[in-house]
């Protein structure tokens, strides 16, 4: 082990001298308290270190120890359900050992080394195996079967011995003969966080990641293996959107990275998720979730590392063949951590003081999402989807972090403060948001639900656009100037906004909506629009249509439970029946009217 001495301390930046043979990105122990740090610059034997813990009280002359290895995570059974800080220290263990406040220089095993797992081999002695091949499984949680894979470093070999049994993560589960000799395979792997884990082949995302959020799934869908961002000013509901997706998305594993955000939000997830039931599997949501919590008051350098820790855990579960969704809340805080370290290193700043490499780092992170064929001979398909929150100052989308994000992500859910003021949640602005996956995903939806949902969606979007233009007119010359058809458009658009797009995250029935229900609900609204439009053509007065009590039934349709979806058919019928008896002008009145017209023209 190499030992150097501290020369300079400035916040989270420590400079050490006489540290020979150090490598870039090596992990070091700083000072007598053995704070954890990472080498981020080298000049001769002078190393610049970003320290992942508070540096108050550290003095020059204290030792710096290099471990000679990069910042890594430990991977193996026992990760699911854990809560880690930015450098994978388990916060529950730290609390038990060191108390309610985060102490410095603390250590704890990153996964439980004592717990016994029931290892079930699925390959046998004599089998030839390649990197990434699953050799056996353990039941990690009620939802996740942990697949023990041949680590990527072993390219190929022949299993000499493999046994089932109750074992710890350090026990040898198999012996594999390779060209380099006999390898002992355990259930544990280490992987450097800044290096993406390998896969066999990458595919274009083609399946929908349903989130149960109507505005997202129907209008701005995210594909499995895709990337999305949620920028918005404070109070516009970024975190609720992130939480809703973490709760209801049909991914198999959820990694939630609380990066520089509020402590209470992580506590909320911790206390709520074990109680919540996954609508797809009927099991508690915590059984598929890993939390990374590096709150805003925890050391800033560890915040920088937290998103890499999170994405590496995600890649590990992807390699097993799972569909993983990663929430990063918020990438702006991560960018600020970069800026702070850049400032301490006296780097030449780019825009707004952010380092010039912000865009590159951002792209590298989002590029770790994707739909892939995993390493190994089994042809496993898996994906990582990334949903990043962005917190631009003052909600200004010209912010460099937003712009760097928009250059790489394919889905943009723009949160609007005005909608949030009206308590229209999720406050996703339907006019500004977009999804570049919509054409790819149309094929997917067509296959399962037919053409109708796509046509309905397009019409609904058109009505919303038109409403926006009509509102302008109303603002200038008043409501009276609109034609009956235009007033119907306004009314339908209002219904789409209030009865479809608006969704109450805290309402039992409304918090999650299946695709079937989404399409049925939209159909109902569009049906109303169509039959009412027909009625107007037949001469029915617009006010009669607007006064129909059936609008109220449409408004309450979103609260129909998932189990009673057939009620929508009844409602559709009800709408038709409500419109049918409306008074059409009789033939004679019509002729009279046309006679008057002719007379006036004459």
């Amino acid at each position: 082990m190499n030992v150097g001495t501290i020369a300079k301390i400035s916040g989270p930046l420590v400079v050490a001298d006489k540290l020979p043979d150090a490598c870039m990105n090596d992990v070091v122990q700083v000072g007598e308290k053995q704070l954890i740090g990472e080498i981020i610059e080298l000049h001769g034997d002078r190393a610049y270190i970003q320290v992942y813990e508070e540096t108050a009280g550290v003095r020059p002359g204290e030792p710096v120890l290099s471990r000679g290895e990069p910042l890594s995570v430990v991977l193996g059974p026992g990760l699911i359900g854990s809560i880690y800080d930015g450098i994978q220290r388990p916060l529950n263990i730290l609390q038990k050992r060191y108390g309610d406040f985060i102490a410095r220089g603390t250590t704890a095993p990153r996964i439980d080394h004592k717990r016994k797992w029931d290892f079930q081999p699925i390959r046998q002695a004599g089998d030839t195996v390649k990197a990434g091949d699953v050799i056996g499984t353990v039941e990690e949680s009620a939802l996740i079967t942990h697949r023990i894979m041949l680590p990527p470093r072993i390219k190929q070999g022949v299993i000499v011995q493999i046994e089932e049994g109750s074992m710890t993560v350090d026990d040898t589960v198999a012996l594999v003969r390779t060209d380099a000799g006999l390898e002992e395979i355990t259930m544990i792997q280490e992987w450097p966080v800044r290096k993406p884990r390998p896969y066999r082949r990458r595919e274009e995302p083609s399946a929908l990641l349903t989130t149960g959020q109507r505005v997202i799934d129907t209008f701005f869908p995210l594909a499995r293996g895709g990337t999305a961002c949620v920028p918005g000013p404070f109070g516009s509901g970024k975190t609720v959107v992130q939480h809703q997706i973490a709760k209801w998305a049909d991914a198999q594993v959820i990694i939630f990275i609380g990066c520089g955000e509020r402590g209470n939000e992580m506590t909320n997830v911790l206390q709520e998720f074990p109680e919540l039931i996954d609508p797809h599997s009927g099991k508690p949501l915590m059984e598929r979730t890993i939390l990374i919590a590096n709150t805003s008051n925890m050391p800033v350098a560890a915040r920088e590392a937290s998103i890499y820790t999170g994405i590496t855990l995600a890649e590990y579960y992807r390699d097993m063949g799972y569909h993983v969704a990663v929430m990063a809340d918020s990438t702006s805080r991560w960018a600020e951590a970069l800026r702070e370290m850049g400032g301490r290193l006296e780097e030449m700043p780019g825009e707004e003081g952010y380092p010039a490499y912000l865009g590159t780092r951002m792209a590298e992170f989002y590029a770790r999402a994707g739909q892939v064929y995993c390493l190994g001979s089994e042809n496993r398909e898996a994906s990582i989807s990334i949903i990043g929150a962005v917190s631009p100052p003052g909600g200004d989308l010209a912010d460099p972090v937003v712009q760097a994000t928009l250059r790489v992500v394919k889905v943009f859910w723009s949160l609007d403060a005005r909608l949030a003021y009206e308590r229209h949640f999720p406050a996703i602005d339907w006019l500004a948001s977009y999804s570049l996956y919509d054409t790819t995903l149309d094929a997917y939806i067509r296959k399962q639900f037919g053409e109708e949902p796509i046509a309905d969606r397009m019409l609904a979007m058109r009505l919303l656009e038109e409403e926006n233009e009509l509102k302008e007119i109303v603002r200038l010359v008043g409501l009276e100037s609109l034609s009956p058809q235009q007033r119907l458009t306004m009314r339908t658009a209002q219904s789409i906004r209030e009865d479809f797009l608006h969704q109450n995250a805290f309402h039992k029935e409304d918090t999650f909506t299946s695709l079937r229900k989404q399409y049925a609900l939209l159909r109902l609204i569009i049906h109303m629009h169509e039959v009412a439009g027909k009625a107007l053509e037949d001469g029915v007065a617009i006010q009669d249509v607007l006064d129909l009590p059936v609008w109220e039934n449409i408004a309450r349709a979103k609260y129909i439970p998932e189990a009673e979806l057939e009620s929508y058919d009844a409602l559709v019928l009800e709408v038709s029946e409500a419109i049918a008896p409306l008074k059409r002008p009789s033939k004679s009145e019509e002729t009279e009217a046309s006679a008057v017209m002719e007379a006036s023209e004459a």
Binding site: A7, K8, I9, S10, E54, T55, A56, G57, V58, R59, P60, G61, I83, N92, L94, Q95, D100, F101, I102, R104, P233, G235, G260, R262, G263, N264, M266, T267, N268, L270, A293, T295, S296, N297, V300, R333, E336, R339, E340, G343, E352, G353, P393, G394, G395, D396, A420, Y421, E422, R423, V474, R475, L476, V477, L479, E498, N504, F506, R556, Y559
Partner: protein, 466 residues
């Protein structure tokens, strides 16, 4: 006795470089003897033998060769004991109320340590402030940090004092305490708070830290940390429910900018340092509750927005850290409405945890959502009136306009001594909602409409008939 150095080499604004021979710790405290006066400073950077110190009381009179710098060997600490209650301290923790210094039973580093997120308990106990605009719409819960975004000339102090006076938890009683941190405010403002605490009998249960406008600006960086160290001690050691009021955070941020500028750091927006977010969060995040401990820290930072601009870095970054915000509105203030809370722009993120059956009332969430929606519609209508005149409004818009007027007058407006119970607040809400046709009340579940809307309507009918 530790060595004293007379080796200052450079001095610039509040910063001084000193050459040392022993190892000095990062953030260590320094005592500086300037003539007969003892000043204080803190180590900002250590670079081998060169140490950068920030001077709390400024550099006037410091001589490069003669002024003595003594490093005390530890960071800034605060002495704590139960009898800090009822006392007034300066921004560095020295008593200024003519009493003797409390005999400290322990000393704590004022920077504290982050609460382990795993150890936190989620705040969910409703605090009744007696102010409808807060209780009804932007509900406060114990352990929350809810800043007041104000502007020059708005009654933020009255509101904060009223909250300190009226705040109570309905379900249980416990020891409460108030910690007040004055950051660069004028003497009169500080005195207003102290008098208000005295009048309500809360002064004996208060700890006051005063850094007034004429006190050293750099000392301001330590004052909120002093206040919060005291608050953590009262809450988590002594099990009290502590309300922390910090005013004015804008002055704190200015002091931070001053030091940053003197250090020639790369500035972020408007000259504030890039680490302003991290620095503020180290203050705000000290609010909260901890599992298995009785006490709690609820925080009310007050800040004045320069030019009432919510996107200024100080309110902006604060809003990203705190769990909502109470924003005051100048137009409402001009209409003589008190408290002039802009309920649309205000927000309590923890509201939904603190309300509902068993906490406030079952209809609370739906009712307040409906009030928000109707008020938003009313404001839209009001905007339209400005352009087109009232005659251009549809009947529905006109109804919403009337609603918005009544809502401001009856719901938001109340006296600075009016202490409304949550039932009163909600009932006022229903009396306004009842002016509207049932079909428009989409945000309220049918069961609550039956329970509160129809029932009362029936009562009225009976009264009319009887």
């Amino acid at each position: 006795m530790r060595k004293a150095y007379r080796t200052a080499t450079d001095i610039e604004g509040p910063l001084v470089f000193v050459e040392v021979t022993e190892a000095v710790g990062y953030q260590e405290m320094v005592e500086i003897q300037v003539n007969s006066e003892m000043r204080h400073g803190q180590v900002l950077e250590v670079n081998g033998p060169r140490v950068l110190i920030q001077l709390f009381e400024g550099g006037a009179g410091v001589h490069l060769g003669q002024t003595r710098f003594r490093f005390v060997g530890h960071g800034m600490t605060l002495g704590l004991a139960p009898d800090i209650l009822g006392r007034v301290f300066d921004g560095q923790g020295n008593p200024v109320d003519d009493g003797p210094a409390p005999i400290a039973t322990l000393h704590r580093d004022i920077n504290g340590a982050p609460i382990n997120p795993y150890a936190r308990d989620y705040p969910n106990e409703f605090i009744q402030t007696g102010i409808s605009a807060i209780d009804g719409l932007n509900t406060l819960v114990r352990g929350q940090k809810l800043p007041i975004f104000s502007g020059a000339g708005l009654p933020h102090n009255e509101i904060a004092a009223q909250i300190a006076r009226q705040a109570k938890v309905l379900t249980q009683e416990g020891d409460f305490a108030v910690v007040f941190g004055a950051l660069g405010i004028m003497f009169e403002e500080a005195q207003f708070f102290i008098n208000s605490f005295r009048d309500s009998g809360a002064l004996e249960r208060s700890v006051v830290f005063l850094n007034l406008a004429n006190d050293p600006a750099i000392e301001r960086l330590a004052t909120p940390r002093m206040a919060l160290t005291a608050a953590e001690y009262l809450a988590f050691d002594l099990g009290m429910h502590v309300l922390v009021i910090l005013t004015d955070m804008t002055n704190y941020c200015e002091a931070l900018r001053e030091v940053s500028a003197a250090r020639k750091e790369v500035p972020g927006r408007r000259g504030y340092p890039g680490y302003l977010y991290t620095d503020l969060s180290a203050i705000y995040e000290r609010a909260g509750r901890i599992q298995g401990r009785k006490g709690s820290i609820t925080m009310f930072p007050i800040l004045t927005m320069p030019e009432d601009d919510k996107t200024h870095p100080i309110p902006d970054l604060t809003g990203y850290i705190t769990e909502g915000q109470i924003i005051l509105s100048r137009p409402l203030h001009k209409k003589s409405l008190y408290p002039p809370v802009d309920v649309q722009a205000s927000l309590s993120r923890l509201r939904d945890e603190g309300i509902g059956e068993g906490k406030t009332r079952d209809d609370h969430a739906d009712l307040s959502n409906q009030l928000f929606t109707a008020y938003a519609r009313g404001l839209e209508a009001r905007e339209m009136t400005v352009v087109l005149g009232e005659s251009a409004l549809s009947d529905e818009d006109l109804m919403y306009l009337r609603f918005a007027d009544a809502f401001e007058r009856e719901f938001i407006h109340q006296g600075s001594d009016a202490d409304r119970s949550i039932e009163q607040t909600l009932d006022i809400g229903w009396s306004l909602i009842r002016q509207m046709p049932r079909a428009l009340l989409k945000r309220i579940r049918v069961e609550y409409l039956e329970k509160y809307y129809d029932v009362a309507a029936k009562d009225e009918l009976q009264m009319a008939n009887g």
